[in-house]
């Protein structure tokens, strides 16, 4: 399978899971957000919001070359 590159950003408590080369992160073409979450070994309930290029997306979204992916945990404090 062809390889593509995305920009990956992990917020707050997800930041420790950020891989090397997150600004130019290589994945296999056809990878979904859910597959990437699994590959990065993020805790299953740790991701609440998924943003691709500034827009909310679902875990089934298939990543495309150059996508800016941001993963955000649940935040509820006051």
């Amino acid at each position: 399978m062809a390889k593509i590159h995305i920009t990956l950003k992990l917020f707050a408590t997800l930041a420790p899971y950020l891989p090397e080369n997150a600004d130019h992160f290589q994945i296999t073409d056809g990878t979904t957000v859910q597959a990437l979450i699994t590959d990065l070994q993020l805790p299953s309930d740790a991701v609440k919001l998924i943003f691709v290029n500034g827009r909310k997306q679902e875990t089934t979204y298939v990543l495309k070359p150059g996508d800016r992916l941001g993963l955000f945990p649940p935040v509820g404090g006051g």
Binding site: T13, G54, P73, G76, G78
Partner: protein, 233 residues
């Protein structure tokens, strides 16, 4: 010293005189008077919102001292709502303050907020946020929401016809009570920064001015100086 007409001198001409008058006749309810609610209430009072209803059933405790603006060593053990009312009266005696020293629940919440033009969600539990959204929709008023964890924060504005919290937290049937703040705690400057963003959205909604974070989520993270506005729909 006489205050006279000088109180709002420095609001001009960022605000116009008619807008200042409009704020004076505006009614805002603030739910939760902790890290967010204290900052929001004080900023709205100083800006000149004329009617504030301040709601919280909790009392101040030592762990609030790191961030909650109305919490001083003198008011430990005292009702947050009563301490807030006293502080707001000291800052701006022209504001009509109503304090409600009660926890909001599904039965009393609508009655607490139904006369407001706008409600501000400064609560600290995700299920309670959904309850407030439900009451705000019933009252047909917009809701300005902020949430914090550590040095991370988010702000959005929900109008009665919007999907609202479901877009941020998922279906309410599958909610955790808390987010990551149960691990990260909350830091003062992040709380007050999100409170400032909420106060700004309140003024914009009340005056129908500027870009409002409707169906958008502002996310900030201060270790990395990240500020992004995301589209929720």
């Amino acid at each position: 010293m006489s205050i006279g007409t000088e109180r709002y001198d420095r609001n001009f001409d960022t605000l116009t005189r008619p807008q200042q008058a409009q704020l004076a006749s505006s009614r805002v309810a603030v739910l939760g008077l902790g890290g967010l609610g204290g900052g929001v209430s004080e900023m709205l009072a100083r800006t000149g919102v004329g009617h504030l209803t301040l709601i919280d059933g909790d009392v101040f405790e030592p762990s609030n001292l790191n961030r909650q603006l109305f919490c001083t060593e003198e008011v430990l053990g005292i009702s947050k709502a009563l301490a807030a009312e006293k502080r707001i009266r000291a800052v701006n005696s022209q504001v009509q303050v109503t304090s409600i020293d009660q926890y909001a629940d599904g039965d009393n919440l609508y009655g607490m907020i139904k006369h407001a033009d706008l409600v501000v969600d400064c609560l600290d539990s995700i299920p309670a946020r959904f309850m407030l959204e439900h009451a705000a929709k019933k009252a047909q008023i917009p809701l300005v929401a902020g949430a914090i964890a550590g040095v991370t924060g988010q702000v959005t504005v929900i109008f009665p016809e919007d999907k609202g919290y479901e877009l941020i937290y998922g279906k309410k049937e599958h909610l955790p009570a808390k987010g990551i703040e149960s691990r990260t705690g909350n830091i003062s400057y992040c709380a007050l920064m999100v409170a400032a963003l909420q106060a700004s959205e309140c003024i914009k909604v009340l005056l129908d001015r500027g870009d409002i974070l409707r169906n958008k989520l502002l996310i900030m993270e201060l270790w990395s100086n990240s500020f992004e506005v995301m589209d929720l729909v």
